[in-house]
C-alpha cells in the first residue's frame, strides 16, 4: 500500500466556506476554530472529495450547497501525494458536477469519469484497500472501524485479509491474491451451480441441465421399457391368436369331415325306412282281414245275447208302471187337504198384518203431532233473536256515520290550509320573477360558445395586464454626468420628485432615472418590444370586448355573468311555479279555497276534536260485528220456519196414511178384523188342524206339521217314478243294442260267409296269412341300421360353431397383427437403442458435472471456513497490537481488548479494576473514544508501514480528561512521524502543547489565516 497524504485543501462555495484554503504539513495538523467556524465542513469536504463521485446522487451532498448563493456547486480542491507523485484533484458536486485530476508532473489532465477512475486506482478503492483507508478517514462516532454493511458479501473478510501480511512480519511479501483468486473462483463456480440461501441446484446451471437431461433420459428409457413390454404383450397376443386360429381351422376341418361322412349314411337309412314301411302296410292289411272275420263271428254271438236281454227289460218295465200309479193316487188326496188348510192360514195371516198396520199408523200420528208443537216453540225464540240483532245493527250504523261526518269536516279544514300556503308560495315566486325580470333576465345573452370566447378574451387581457405590470426593468447607465433622482410618468410629460413616489411601485411606461453626481445617470424603465406587442394585443382585446359589451348592453363580464345567472334563476322559478300550479290557474285555486272556507264554516267543528283513526276503525268494526250478528239471526229464523213447515207436512201425511189404512174409522176396522180371525180358526178346527191363538208363530207351527205329514207320500211317489224311468231306460237300451247288433251282423255277413262253419274256416286261413306278414316285417325291422339324423344335426351344428370360431380367430389374428405392426411402426428399434445410449451418456455427464459441482462446493465452503478463521486471527493480532496504545490512552483503565472480525469492531475490553472482560459499551464515553482512537492509531500505523497515510480525526478527544489528553497528544506526536494526522478541534487550548512543536501545522479557521510553523 503506497503513501497517500494531502498537501493542500481548498473549498469554494462549500457550505459556510465561500473561499477557503489551507496548506497542510505531512505530519500533525491542528485545525482549530470555534463552533460554527466550519471545521466539520472542512473535514467532510476532504472526506467527500475522496469517497464520493462527483456525479453521486447522494442527497446528503445537498447539505454542502453554499449558504446564501444558490446555483453554485460546492467545490473541493485537494493536492494529493500518492505513490511518489503529486496530483491536484478538483471536484464539484450538485450544480454542474465535475471532477478533474491533474498530475502535477505535467501529464495530461483527466476529467470526470476517467478522472474518477484514476482517483479510484490511487486510493486502491477495489474493495479491500479502499475500505481500510476509509477506516482512517471515517466517521469518528462509529463504533466499528469498518461498517460491515459496506463490505461486499464475497469479500467479507477482505479488510482482515489485507491486514494479514502487514501483521505477519515473518512473511510480509506473501501474495494474498492466491487465496483470493481461489476463493473468488470457488465462489463463482459455486454460485453458478447453487442457490446461496437454500443450497439447491441453480436453474439453468450445467449441473441442473445435466440433471434435467438425466431425468429426460430416464423417462425416455421408461417409455421404451413400457413400449417393450407392450411389444412383448402384443407378440404374445399374436402368438395366441395364431394358435387359436390354427386350432379353430383344425376344428372346422374336422367338423366338415364328420358331416361329409354322415350324409351317405343318412341316405341309406332313408331307403331302408321306405322298404320297412311297405312291409308294415302288408302286415296291417292281413291283420285287418283277420280282424273282420273274427268280428263277424263275435257279432253273431253278441246279437243272440242282446235279444235275451230285451225280453228281460220288457217285464221289469211293466212291474214299475203298476207301483208308480198306486203312489200317485195317495199323494193327490193328501195334497187336497193341505191346500184347504193353507187357504185358512193365509187368510188369518192377512188379517193379522192389516191389524198391525192400523195400530202402527196410529202411533206415527202421535209422534208427528208432538214434533210439530216443538217446532212452533223454536220459531218463536228465533223471531225474538232476530229483532234484537236488527236493533243493534241500526245503532252501530248511526254511530259510524256520526264519526265519518266529523272526520270529513276536519279534512276539509286541512285542505283549505294547504291551499292557502300554496297560493302564498305562488305569490312569492311571482315577486321573484318580477325581480329577476328587472335584473335583466329577459335581456339577450350570448351563447355558451360566445361566452367562452368572451371569458378567454378577458383572461388573456388580464394576463397581458399582469405581464405588463411585471415587465422587467431595463437599465441604462450613462456615467460621468451629474446624477439626480426623479421619476418620470408614463406619458413622459411630468417629472416627479422621488419623495412623491416613495413607497409606490413603478408603473408601466414610467421611468426611474437615478442621477448620481460624480458617477452618472441610471435610467430604469419597464418597456421593450415584447411589452409593446403585449400592449397592442391588450388594446385590441379591450376594443373587441368593448364592442361586445355595447352590443349586449352590459358594462363588463361581471354584469354579463349576473345577467346569465338571473336568466338561469328565472327559468328555475318558472319551473317551480308551473309545478305548483300543476295545470290549474290561480283563479281556479282561489275559487276552490272559497268553497273550502264556506264548507268549513258550515261544519262549525272548530271546537270538536277530530276523531282519532282508531275510534273510526273501532266503530267500523262494531258495525261489521252487528251486521254479522244480524245475518246469523236471520239465518237461524229461516231455519226454524223451515223446520215448522216440514213438521206440519209430516203430521198431515201421517193422518192421511192412518185414514187410508183403516178405510174410515180405525176402531171399527179393528173390530171387524177380530171377528174374521175367529171364523177362520173355527174352519181350521173342522179340518183337523187346531191352533191355540191367531199368531204368526202358531201359523208357522201348523204349516210345519202339514208339511211333515206330506213328505213320506211324496218320497214314495218319487221313488216309484225313478224306478219306472230306470226300467224304461233299460228297455230302450236293450232294444237299441239289439238293433245295432242285428245291423252290424247283417253288415258283416255281406263280406263274410253267413254259414258259421265256412266262416270259421275263413278265419283260420286269414290268421295264417297275418302270421306270415308279421314275420316278414319283424325280420326286416331287425336289420334296420340306427338313424344318423341326430348325429348329422349335431355334426352340422358343430361345423357352424367351428366356422364362427374360425372367423373370429382370423379376425383376432389380424387385429393382433395390426396392433403389433402399429407398435413396431414407430421405429421402435432405433428409439430403443437411442434411449439406452442417451441414458448412459446422460448418467455419465451428470456424474461428471455432479463431481465437479461437489468439488467446487467443497472448495467454496472450505475457503469460507479458512477466511473466517483468518479474520479471527487478524482481529486477534490487531487487538494485541492496539493493547499498549489503549493502555496508555486510558491511563491503564483498559488493559486489553477484543476485536470482532468483519468490521474490526472493538467489542470487549478488559478492565484493570476488575481484571475482567466487559462489553465496550459498558465503559464511559471517554474510555470508549480512547479505545476507538487507539484502534485507529494502530491501524494507521500498520497501513503506514509501506508509506505515509492520511488520518482524519474530528474532535477525537471530546470526552477525555486532561491527564489522558496529554497521553493522547504524546501518541499523536509519535504517530505523526509516519502518518499525516488532521485533528479538527474547537479546543485549541487543549492542544497548546502540540502547537509549540515545530513540525505541527496549526490552522485557525476563525481567522482563516494559516499560521506559520511555530
Amino acid at each position: 500500500m503506497s503513501e497517500l497524504y494531502l498537501e493542500r485543501v481548498a473549498l469554494t462555495h462549500f457550505g459556510c466556506h465561500q473561499n477557503r484554503s489551507a496548506e497542510l504539513g505531512p505530519g500533525l495538523n491542528l485545525i482549530c476554530g470555534p463552533n460554527g467556524a466550519g471545521k466539520s465542513t472542512l473535514f467532510q469536504a476532504i472526506l467527500i472529495a475522496l469517497t464520493e463521485r462527483h456525479s453521486s446522487s447522494n442527497r446528503s451532498l445537498q447539505n454542502w450547497v453554499p449558504w446564501g448563493c444558490d446555483g453554485l456547486g460546492p467545490t473541493v480542491e485537494l493536492h494529493l501525494v500518492c505513490g511518489g507523485a503529486r496530483y491536484r484533484i478538483r471536484k464539484t458536486f450538485v450544480h454542474n458536477p465535475a471532477c478533474e485530476v491533474e498530475p502535477l508532473n505535467g501529464s495530461k489532465r483527466l476529467f470526470n469519469k476517467p478522472a474518477e477512475s484514476l482517483l479510484d486506482s490511487l486510493l486502491q478503492d477495489d474493495g479491500a484497500a479502499g475500505l481500510l483507508l476509509r477506516a482512517l478517514w471515517g466517521d469518528h462516532d462509529a463504533t466499528a472501524l469498518i461498517h460491515p454493511a459496506r463490505v461486499p458479501s464475497q469479500n467479507r473478510s477482505a479488510p482482515a485479509a489485507l491486514l494479514q501480511p502487514l501483521l505477519d512480519v515473518s512473511s510480509p511479501n506473501q501474495p494474498t491474491s492466491s487465496f483470493s483468486r481461489l476463493r473468488q473462483a470457488a465462489w463463482q463456480a459455486y454460485e453458478e451451480r447453487f442457490t446461496p440461501g437454500r443450497q439447491q441446484i441453480r436453474k439453468g446451471s450445467k449441473l441442473f441441465d445435466a440433471a434435467q437431461r438425466l431425468d429426460c433420459a430416464r423417462q425416455q428409457q421408461k417409455q421404451m421399457e413400457d413400449l417393450q413390454s407392450a411389444l412383448s404383450s402384443a407378440l404374445d397376443r399374436l402368438a395366441e391368436a395364431q394358435a387359436g386360429r390354427r386350432q379353430a381351422e383344425a376344428d372346422w376341418d374336422e367338423a366338415r369331415r364328420a358331416v361329409a361322412n354322415l350324409r351317405p349314411r343318412a341316405e341309406h337309412y332313408h331307403r331302408f325306412q321306405t322298404e320297412l314301411a311297405a312291409k308294415q302296410s302288408a302286415l296291417q292289411t292281413a291283420q285287418r282281414d283277420l280282424e273282420a272275420l273274427e268280428q263277424a263271428e263275435a257279432a253273431s254271438t253278441q246279437t243272440a245275447e242282446a235279444h235275451a236281454a230285451l225280453d228281460r227289460a220288457e217285464r221289469a218295465a211293466a212291474d214299475a208302471q203298476r207301483q208308480h200309479e198306486q203312489a200317485q193316487s195317495e199323494l193327490s188326496a193328501a195334497r187336497q187337504r193341505h191346500d184347504q188348510i193353507e187357504e185358512r192360514l193365509g187368510s188369518i195371516e192377512r188379517l193379522i198384518r192389516r191389524r198391525d198396520q192400523i195400530q202402527a199408523a196410529q202411533q206415527t200420528c202421535g209422534q208427528r203431532a208432538e214434533a210439530f208443537h216443538q217446532a212452533e216453540n223454536d220459531l218463536r225464540t228465533a223471531t225474538d233473536r232476530l229483532d234484537a240483532a236488527r236493533a243493534a245493527f241500526t245503532e252501530a250504523e248511526n254511530q259510524l256515520a256520526l264519526l265519518r261526518t266529523r272526520a270529513a269536516a276536519h279534512q276539509r279544514a286541512r285542505q283549505r290550509d294547504a291551499l292557502r300556503e300554496r297560493l302564498q308560495t305562488l305569490q312569492t315566486i311571482e315577486s321573484e320573477l318580477a325581480r329577476l325580470e328587472a335584473a335583466g333576465a329577459k335581456l339577450p345573452v350570448p351563447t355558451d360558445q360566445e361566452l367562452e370566447q368572451i371569458r378567454t378574451c378577458v383572461r388573456e387581457l388580464d394576463a397581458l395586464n399582469q405581464a405588463l405590470d411585471e415587465q422587467p426593468v431595463a437599465v441604462s447607465i450613462q456615467p460621468e454626468r451629474p446624477i439626480e433622482l426623479r421619476v418620470q410618468d408614463a406619458s413622459g410629460d411630468r417629472i416627479l420628485e422621488l419623495s412623491e413616489r416613495a413607497g409606490q411601485t413603478l408603473a408601466l411606461g414610467e421611468e426611474l432615472i437615478l442621477i448620481l453626481p460624480g458617477f452618472g445617470r441610471i435610467e430604469l424603465r419597464r418597456t421593450g418590444p415584447q411589452a409593446e406587442q403585449r400592449r397592442a394585443r391588450r388594446n385590441a382585446l379591450a376594443q373587441q370586448l368593448e364592442t361586445m359589451w355595447t352590443g349586449l348592453g352590459v358594462s363588463g363580464l361581471p354584469e354579463l355573468e349576473r345577467r346569465i345567472t338571473a336568466r338561469q334563476q328565472r327559468h328555475f322559478a318558472e319551473t317551480r311555479r308551473d309545478d305548483l300550479l300543476s295545470g290549474e290557474t290561480p283563479d281556479a285555486l282561489h275559487a276552490r279555497l272559497a268553497e273550502l272556507e264556506h264548507a268549513v264554516q258550515e261544519d262549525g267543528l272548530r271546537t270538536d276534536p277530530e276523531p282519532p283513526p282508531s275510534e273510526l276503525a273501532q266503530a267500523e268494526q262494531s258495525l261489521k260485528n252487528a251486521d254479522a250478528a244480524r245475518t246469523r239471526a236471520d239465518r237461524e229464523w229461516a231455519a226454524a220456519a223451515e223446520r215448522l213447515r216440514n213438521c206440519e207436512q209430516e203430521l198431515r201425511a201421517a193422518q192421511q196414511s192412518l185414514q187410508e189404512q183403516a178405510c174410515g174409522d180405525p176402531d171399527a176396522a179393528l173390530d171387524e178384523i177380530r171377528s174374521q180371525i175367529d171364523a177362520a180358526l173355527a174352519d181350521l178346527d173342522r179340518l183337523g188342524a187346531t191352533i191355540q191363538a191367531a199368531t204368526p208363530n202358531e201359523i208357522t207351527a201348523c204349516r210345519q206339521q202339514l208339511q211333515s205329514a206330506l213328505e213320506p207320500l211324496q218320497n214314495r211317489q218319487d221313488a216309484a217314478s225313478v224306478a219306472l224311468n230306470q226300467a224304461r231306460q233299460t228297455l230302450s237300451e236293450a232294444a237299441t243294442e239289439h238293433r245295432l247288433r242285428k245291423e252290424r251282423l247283417d253288415e258283416m255277413l255281406r263280406t263274410a260267409p253267413a254259414d258259421p262253419v265256412s266262416r270259421r274256416e275263413a278265419i283260420d286261413r286269414a290268421r295264417q296269412e297275418a302270421d306270415r306278414a308279421l314275420r316278414d316285417y319283424e325280420t326286416l325291422r331287425q336289420t334296420l341300421p340306427p338313424d344318423p339324423a341326430d348325429e348329422l344335426a349335431h355334426a352340422e351344428s358343430r361345423l357352424n360353431e367351428a366356422e364362427t370360431r374360425k372367423d373370429q380367430a382370423i379376425e383376432d389374428h389380424h387385429a393382433a397383427e395390426r396392433q403389433l405392426a402399429e407398435l413396431q411402426g414407430q421405429d421402435y428399434e432405433s428409439r430403443r437403442v437411442q434411449a439406452v445410449e442417451e441414458l448412459a451418456a446422460a448418467e455419465d455427464a451428470y456424474q461428471r458435472e455432479a463431481r465437479d459441482a461437489a468439488a467446487w462446493a467443497l472448495l467454496h465452503l472450505l475457503c469460507q471456513q479458512a477466511a473466517a478463521e483468518a479474520t479471527r486471527s487478524v482481529a486477534s493480532r490487531l487487538a494485541a497490537l492496539a493493547d499498549p496504545s489503549i493502555e496508555r490512552l486510558t491511563a491503564g483503565n483498559v488493559r486489553a481488548i477484543e476485536i470482532q472480525g468483519d468490521g474490526l469492531e472493538p467489542i470487549r475490553a478488559r478492565s484493570r479494576q476488575f481484571d475482567e472482560l466487559f462489553g465496550v459499551d459498558r465503559f464511559s464515553r471517554g474510555t470508549r473514544e480512547q479505545v476507538l482512537l487507539g484502534c485507529r492509531l494502530v491501524l494507521a500505523q500498520l497501513l503506514a508501514s509501506q508509506g505515509r497515510q492520511l488520518l482524519l480525526l474530528d474532535e477525537p478527544l471530546a470526552h477525555t480528561d486532561p491527564l489522558r489528553h496529554l497521553a493522547a497528544l504524546d501518541l499523536l506526536s509519535e504517530l505523526a512521524q509516519s502518518v499525516q494526522i488532521l485533528v479538527f478541534t474547537c479546543h485549541p487550548d487543549r492542544y497548546q502543547p502540540l502547537r509549540q512543536r515545530p513540525d505541527v501545522v496549526a490552522i485557525d479557521l476563525g481567522s482563516g489565516i494559516v499560521l506559520p510553523d511555530g
Binding site: 461437489a854 468439488a855 472450505l862
Partner: protein
C-alpha cells in the same frame, strides 16, 4: 477323403446399443458389419464355402428394416458362400419376428434360415446338419430332437443356441446345453452360439467337439477376447480341427493398477502410452494413493493421451489423494487451512462442512481429489 470345412460364427448382434460407451456406439455398430464382411470373405476361401451362424444375428427380434436390408445385401454380395443361420434367443422365431418379416422374404438364395428342427443335408449328403432354432427367449435343451445315427451317415453337426450348465441358473430355461452333448447325441461337432466370449478358446482346448466362437466384434468390457470366428475342419472318426481368426477391429482393454508413488505413476503412464490406438478402448481402474502433485500429473497426462485412444476411461474413484508437502507449500494460513481440511475429509468423511448442498451426495475420494486438483490449478 477331403475334410469338410466351414466357418462357425454366432452372436453378430447387429444394431446392438452400447450402454457403456454411448459416444462410440455408432462406430462400434459399424465395426460389426466389417466383421460380418470378414467372415464371408473367409468363407469364400474355404470350399464348400459354408457359414454356420448359431443365432442372435440381430440384437432384437424386430430390428430396424434398414439393418435387415443391409444384411441381405451383404450376404448377396458373396454369392459363392452359403450362410445357414438359426434364430437365437435375442431374435427368436416368433410371429412377426425378423425371419418371417416381408423384408426378410427377399433374402438371396445363399442365405438359408433354418427355422425348424429338421435335418439338412450338406456337401452332397455326406454331412447332416441338425439345426435347433430358438422360438422364444427362453427354452429347454434344444438338442433333444436329434435322432440316432443312421447307417451310412458320415458327419453329424448340430447348430444350436444355448448355455452350458455353468452359466445356467437352475430356475431358468436359457436353452441349456448338455456338456456331453457330442457323445450323448453322437455328434461330430456342436456349433454353439449365445456366449460372446470364445469357449473354450481353441488354442487352449483343441480336443473338444463343441465350441462357442464368440461375438465377431467386442460388445462391452466383459467380453474383451471376443472379435473372432472359427474355421472348423471335420473328418469322420477324427477330432475336429478348429482355428480362430480375427474379425473384430476394436480392442477393449482394462488396466488395473495400484499406485503408491511417482515410479508407479511413470510405469502406468508408459503402459498407457504404449497401448494408444484409435481402435483401442482403454479402461483404467486405479487404486492406491497419490500425492496431489502426482495426481495432477496423472490427470493432465490422461487428458493428453485421451485423444490417442478410441476411448480412454480412467476410473480414479478408488485412488486416494494425499496432501503432500508440495501441495502445502504455502505460508498463507488460509490456503493451508483449505488443504488440511481436504486431507482431513479424505480420512474422515464426517468432517463435512456445514451448509453442504442438499442435492449433492457426500464427497467421496474422487470428489476430494477433484477439489484438490481445481485448487492447485487455480493456484499455479
Amino acid at each position: 477323403m477331403v475334410a469338410f470345412r466351414f466357418v462357425h460364427t454366432a452372436d453378430w448382434h447387429l444394431g446392438q446399443p452400447y450402454r457403456s460407451v454411448p459416444d462410440l456406439a455408432e462406430r462400434l455398430r459399424e465395426a460389426r458389419w466389417v466383421a460380418v464382411e470378414a467372415i464371408l470373405k473367409k468363407a469364400e476361401q474355404l470350399p464348400p464355402h459354408i457359414v454356420l451362424a448359431a443365432g442372435d444375428q440381430f440384437d432384437s427380434p424386430t430390428p430396424n428394416p434398414a439393418l435387415v436390408e443391409r444384411l441381405l445385401e451383404t450376404v448377396a454380395a458373396h454369392p459363392s458362400v452359403t450362410v445357414y443361420m438359426i434364430p437365437g434367443n435375442h431374435d427368436p422365431l416368433r410371429p412377426r419376428s425378423v425371419y418371417v418379416s416381408p423384408a426378410f422374404g427377399k433374402r438371396p438364395p445363399n442365405l438359408i434360415v433354418l427355422d425348424r428342427p429338421e435335418p439338412v443335408a450338406l456337401d452332397g449328403s455326406r454331412v447332416t446338419l441338425y439345426p435347433c432354432p430358438c422360438t422364444a427367449q427362453w427354452g429347454d435343451n434344444p438338442l433333444t430332437w436329434i435322432p440316432r445315427r443312421q447307417p451310412g451317415q458320415q458327419l453329424r453337426i448340430a447348430l444350436a443356441h444355448g448355455s452350458l450348465p455353468s452359466a445356467c441358473q437352475s430356475d431358468q430355461r436359457s436353452y441349456p446345453i448338455d456338456i456331453n452333448a457330442p457323445s450323448r447325441y453322437d455328434l461330430d461337432y456342436v456349433a454353439l452360439g449365445d456366449w460372446h466370449r470364445p469357449t473354450p478358446p481353441p488354442a487352449e482346448d483343441a480336443a473338444a467337439r463343441m465350441y462357442y466362437p464368440g461375438a465377431p466384434e467386442i460388445g462391452g468390457w466383459d467380453e474383451p477376447d471376443a472379435g473372432q470366428a472359427l474355421v472348423v475342419e471335420l473328418e469322420p472318426g477324427a477330432l475336429p480341427r478348429v482355428a480362430a481368426f480375427r474379425t473384430g477391429q476394436y480392442t477393449w482393454r482394462t488396466l488395473d493398477a495400484d499406485l503408491a508413488d511417482d515410479s508407479d505413476l511413470d510405469q502406468l503412464l508408459a503402459q498407457v502410452k504404449s497401448s494408444a490406438s484409435q481402435t483401442t478402448l482403454l479402461r483404467l481402474r486405479l487404486t492406491g494413493c497419490l500425492g496431489a502433485v502426482a495426481r495432477d500429473r496423472l490427470e493432465q497426462a490422461l487428458d493428453q493421451y485421451a485423444a490417442q485412444f478410441a476411448r480412454l476411461e480412467p476410473n480414479l474413484d478408488a485412488l486416494a489423494c494425499r496432501s503432500d508437502d508440495s501441495a502445502l507449500e504455502t505460508t498463507d494460513p488460509r490456503l493451508h487451512h483449505v488443504f488440511q481440511a481436504l486431507t482431513r475429509l479424505a480420512d474422515d468423511p464426517s468432517a463435512l462442512p456445514a451448509n453442504w448442498p442438499k442435492d449433492l451426495p457426500r464427497p467421496d475420494a474422487a470428489t476430494i481429489a477433484r477439489a484438490l486438483s481445481f485448487a492447485r490449478r487455480h493456484l499455479s
